[in-house]
Symmetry: C2
Subunit: 357 residues, 2 copies
């Protein structure tokens, strides 16, 4: 158990931005929103999974929408608590703990906004160990936890409580509402008991994100290679260092979808890497061959600074390094791949193991 103060969020947001594999929202925005909430309402307590009582009511807090929208349409920061209260009303009981459903720039921070405003503790863990674009793509789903009941709230005060017959239906209904509400909303969902957390969550990912953010910052300060430091911590492998030469991006169906082409520089001169994304990076092709796929992490970092580059932040000329890093092993089970493997997203290939360094 420890207290999170505004200054603690710099490293955390940076690391979560890297783990978010291009999605989960802008880390800078997320950090500012959480810092403001903590300054106004006081520090947030983070607890380990083993510190949560078995009968606790743990609620996941997140933002849903297209990150291309959320960089312009900032949350009012009331949505998280509005969604939480609507869910609690439906449940007939109060939440005792909040948890991020995914790590990512904005979505690792959303629970801190709600936690600061409600005084509830945040659990150190998340439901993915990365970020994914759709609500049903959660490890708790593999142990029978459902996304529904799912409360959705917008900045105007509209709320919905969705009880889908499946996680896919909950996602579908929440997504259409999200688009109608302006493509950036807050959700409270995936209610878990404390004794489900060990099997349902990826543990200690907030700590991992903070370590990752610190490693990058320290390497930069020491004039070392921040990207190499991040790769080491993640057990990841460099897929390409180069510059962005083409980005095609559109906001459709409530997502930021597109492709980016990178041209290798330095030792990678002559090589090309193509990234396909739907909020998050999902597939990397190097010189035409698939070398990394969802559910493994495909992380784009600024080559000089090691700062995460989100899919909505990709732009021509940016000098970046793309890392591949292994996902939580549960994602590679048949159930995990069905939820978030490349075929779910329409790619005509199976998951391929990451290349060895």
């Amino acid at each position: 158990m420890r207290e999170i103060h505004p200054g603690d969020l710099d490293d955390l947001a940076r690391g979560a931005g890297i783990l978010g594999t291009g999605g989960g929202g802008d880390p800078y925005t997320g950090k500012l929103l959480a810092q403001r909430a903590i300054r106004e309402h006081g520090p947030v307590t983070v607890v380990g999974i083993d510190e949560v009582p078995a009968d606790a009511t743990v609620v996941a807090i997140s933002g849903m929408g297209a990150p291309t929208v959320s960089v312009e349409k900032l949350p009012a920061c009331t949505e998280e608590v509005t969604a939480l209260r609507a869910l609690e009303r439906h449940l007939g009981r109060a939440a005792t703990h909040l948890v991020p459903i995914e790590v990512g720039g904005l979505n690792s921070m959303a629970p801190f906004v709600a936690a600061a405003r409600t005084g509830l503790p945040v659990v150190d863990g998340d439901g993915m160990g990365r970020a994914f674009p759709e609500a049903q793509m959660i490890l708790p789903g593999l142990i029978g936890v459902t996304v529904a009941p799912m409360a959705v709230a917008d900045d105007k005060g509209n709320t919905l409580v969705i009880d889908g017959v499946s996680d896919l239906w909950s996602e579908r209904l929440a997504r259409t509402a999200c688009v109608e509400m302006g493509c950036s909303v807050s959700c409270a969902d995936t209610v878990m008991r404390g004794d489900q957390l060990a099997a349902g969550l990826v543990p200690a990912t907030l700590t991992l994100a903070e370590d990752l953010g610190r490693t990058v910052r320290e390497a930069r300060a020491a004039h070392a290679d921040p990207v190499a430091s991040a790769a080491r911590l993640l057990g990841g492998v460099r897929l390409l260092t180069g510059k962005v030469v083409d980005v095609r991006r559109r906001t459709s169906g409530g997502f930021a979808r597109g492709r980016a082409v990178l041209e290798g520089t330095g030792g990678d001169r002559g090589r090309a890497l193509e990234l396909s994304f739907q909020n998050e990076h999902l597939l990397a092709r190097r010189d035409g061959a698939v070398i990394a796929t969802t559910p493994d992490l495909i992380c784009v970092l600024d080559t000089d600074t090691g700062e995460p580059v989100t899919t909505e932040g990709l732009r021509y000329g940016l000098r970046v390094t793309v890392l591949g890093a292994p996902c939580d092993p549960r994602w590679l089970t048949p159930g995990g791949l069905e939820l978030a493997g490349p075929r779910y997203f329409g790619y005509d290939c199976d998951h391929v193991p990451l290349p060895t360094a």
Copy 2:
């Protein structure tokens, strides 16, 4: 207070189909669904507004969607009760009475389906005195009753509880969910106390519908003019007798929208009438001039039989008579016209009084 048995629904459905001004769903389908529910679960009690206790919890039950869809995708008849239960859970109390939100072929019958299955009585009245396409177009809205909280359920078992910041937002969010759910869903909403019914509802419209249906049937049996009998009962005026020569219809945004052109026959030879509709008939132009507009009732009846013709039932060659009939006077107040006057629907004209016979 009286009991409604399956045989009572023939006249009621016919009359409600006429009052539904082309919308509110197919009367034949509606009747069959309600008759089956009553056969399976027992008769339904109908009570007058003055028989409802002041502290009663009255819930409106209706179908939402495009009638072009609901004629093919029949309700499972579980949706009404699923929606009602979701709303009751949200309210934290049980409904004591059900009421139609509008009269119309399917929507006058939906409360009977729910009433048969739950044993609750149905209030003799409705929220419009006709049918309208959008959820916020209700007279209770003029006395401060809100559509929200609004529960929506589909045939698959998906439910949503919507709490919009305005009736327009509730409509918008329900409509997008409705489209995603297959364009034909059931709703439980517009919660009223018993003491709000007198000011909020149009009284005795179920009785009026039944009288209207009986009048038409009896005139037909007596080889009299069933359309003239209906017009007399409604205080309505004949706008044109003719045949349908053109129908343009599309299902878009969750509605059946379009236009129909009628060519006069008999005494109306040489005249033409154009009807514009969005689920319901909203505007009639005779020989190019607007002669009837929403919120007045524009009813299309089969000239020979007096049976109501819904907007989705309009087809080339059909011999019909179009009646105009006065709406409830509250619709002609500024608030009523703002909700459902011709300008709301995008027509560049004000409400015009119906021609005198």
